[in-house]
């Protein structure tokens, strides 16, 4: 493979964990959750947080991704100690969400994630996309995925997948892959993934964002999402918001430039739920695996 004999390339990588946070208690995610089990260094980009609106109750606002305000975060890397000595609220840790306003309905936009560096997809390779409906009660209508980029001459490239018939609660399928392969004569460089439920005109984020989970992986080379469980869209694309209700989620902590997780190193995450109600939370680590 041309890609394999190249000096190195970038593989976007997401690791996801779903935790139940008991009330008024501190929870440490299992040590293996965010560990670098590869032989390459992993440049960290962001750590995202999304609640679970299907179980959220007051004071968590379902429209906001179901995340309460009184959650404290502690981070640390093995061998380096704690990143923050005093637990800090997620709202203080995380960047303000990238609100995108548009006037044709607040929910009409796809949720986009822009890769910091493009992923090189060789010719005759493609993407395998699994999608799941996590909503316990409602059907999801048509679900779409697009990956975009350019060819070496700068000409636009689009890879697409769709589940036209929608998904029943709890179901998981692999997308129709007719358009998910690079059928061109050269490699292509992907830099953006877009996720969409076709008709999410609902009044809460719950109908459009959290219940849809994805696993996106290339058919060759290192996986993007090696975990077995599909990752909520809010975790994959946390900075894309089209709705500006009172906010707590999705949220993303952006790591300082050149923060790396080296092979066998792990990121420790401790979460303290200060409220008197239990809360579910989805945590996702995103970065670039620098494959040699």
């Amino acid at each position: 493979m041309k890609q394999a004999i190249q000096r190195g390339y970038i593989v976007p990588r997401w690791l996801h964990y779903s935790a139940a946070l008991p009330s008024e208690a501190t929870t440490e995610l299992p040590p293996t959750t965010f560990s670098n089990t590869t032989m390459y260094r992993w440049k960290l980009v962001g750590l995202s947080f999304v609640g679970n609106p299907t179980t959220a109750s007051a004071p968590y606002d379902e429209a906001d991704g179901g995340l309460g305000t009184r959650i404290l975060l502690e981070l640390g890397k093995t061998g380096c100690g704690d990143m923050n000595l005093v637990p800090a609220p997620l709202t203080a840790f995380c960047a303000p969400p990238g609100l995108i306003r548009q006037h044709m309905g607040a929910y009409n936009l796809a949720y986009d994630v822009h890769l910091p560096r493009p992923y090189r997809l060789p010719r005759d390779s493609g993407l395998e996309v699994t999608v799941r409906n996590n909503n316990g009660a409602a059907n999801l209508p048509e679900i779409t995925f697009l990956a975009r980029g350019v060819d070496p001459k700068g000409y636009p490239v689009v890879l697409g997948g769709v589940v036209a018939e929608g998904l029943e609660p709890g179901n998981q399928v692999v997308m129709d892959s007719a358009d998910l392969y690079n059928k061109g004569k050269t490699e292509v460089y992907l830099d953006r993934f877009s996720f969409k439920v076709v008709d999410d005109k609902g009044t809460t984020w719950a109908e459009g964002l959290i219940p849809v989970s994805y696993l996106v992986n290339p058919t060759t080379g290192e996986n993007f999402m090696p975990g077995p469980t599909p990752i909520p869209v809010g975790n994959i694309a946390p900075m894309c918001r089209v709705y500006d209700a009172s906010d707590e989620g999705p949220r993303v902590y952006t790591f300082p430039p050149n923060t790396y997780l080296y092979p066998r190193q792990r990121l420790g995450v401790k979460l303290t739920n200060l409220t008197d109600a239990d809360q579910d939370i989805h945590v996702c680590l995103f970065g670039e695996l620098e494959v040699q």
Binding site: H103, G105, A106, F145, G154, Y155, P156, K196
Partner: protein, 270 residues
């Protein structure tokens, strides 16, 4: 033999897609239709697609999405995808509260020249005052320059208004390069129903309109995020869109292609 200037342009087409079928409506945009003529090469910046109709200036948007799918082909090559996908998934730009149309290559305005902005309808109240701002730099030293005009109830509602005057002149004795235009209607809110878009046309110093025909809404301030393409085309090349409507009712789509086109500029060195 001089150089070239980069004239902003837009092409707009309204297309009705029949309902309850999978028979596609089709729209093709040809850059050779530009009224400017004499174009050398075009840079396509983005495409804006949304459902709705071309309402009169000041009308509000209440539209929402439906089951419209599309695919597109650029410059006469194959379609980018074989299947058709929800057209909204293609949107990859951002639409901030106050929209900005940026040009990859600048439009040069020379000393003594000015821009004219035509509003199709005067505002009906002070809540709808309109502002437009062209941003650029002075060529000689790259100092920032802004050309700005505002319309505040100077005409009876419904009358066309020309915005011109000293603030839209090249303000120096050396050329300026304009890189973007932004516009704002005073009463802009984020939700559906709060959106105002004025019908606008911009004329260059030679009275050449930037887009064909009449004043148009949504070219400067589209209601949705754009689909960024960033490709160079010859004037004979086309962009083709194919739509499918999976609803029972027919639907109207507005398709706007924006970019810059090279035109001969004898004053500029090649």
């Amino acid at each position: 033999m001089g150089g070239v200037n980069f004239l902003p342009f837009a092409r707009r087409q309204d297309i009705t897609v029949p309902g309850a079928t999978t028979s596609p409506g089709r729209v093709s945009t040809r850059l050779t239709d530009l009224s400017a003529g004499g174009g050398l090469q075009a840079h396509i910046n983005d495409v804006i697609i949304f459902q709705g109709t071309d309402t009169s200036a000041g009308n509000q948007f209440t539209g929402d999405g439906g089951d419209i799918r599309m695919r597109m082909a650029i410059s006469g090559k194959n379609y980018l995808t074989e299947n058709l996908y929800d057209y909204r998934v293609f949107q990859n730009g951002i639409r901030p509260q106050c929209t900005v149309w940026k040009w990859k290559r600048p439009y040069r305005l020379y000393p003594g020249e000015q821009l004219y902005v035509l509003e199709g309808d005067a505002p009906v109240s002070e809540n709808e005052d309109y502002s437009i701002l062209f941003s650029g730099v002075r060529v000689v030293d790259r100092e920032p320059i802004m050309l700005h005009a505002t319309e505040m109830l100077s005409e009876a509602p419904g009358n066309p208004v020309i915005l011109s005057g000293p603030t839209l002149h090249c303000p120096h004795d050396t050329p300026i390069d304009l890189y973007s235009v932004s516009s704002h209607v005073w009463r802009v809110e984020s939700g559906a129903g709060g959106f105002f878009s004025r019908s606008i046309q911009v004329f260059g110093p030679d009275d050449r309109p930037w887009w064909q025909g009449r004043t148009w809404q949504h070219v400067l301030d589209p209601p949705v995020a754009p689909i960024i393409l960033d490709v160079d085309l010859d004037p004979t090349q086309t962009i083709t869109f194919e739509f499918e409507n999976h609803q029972t009712a027919s639907d109207t789509l507005v398709v706007i292609v924006r970019g810059t086109i090279e035109v001969n500029d004898p004053r500029r060195e090649g």
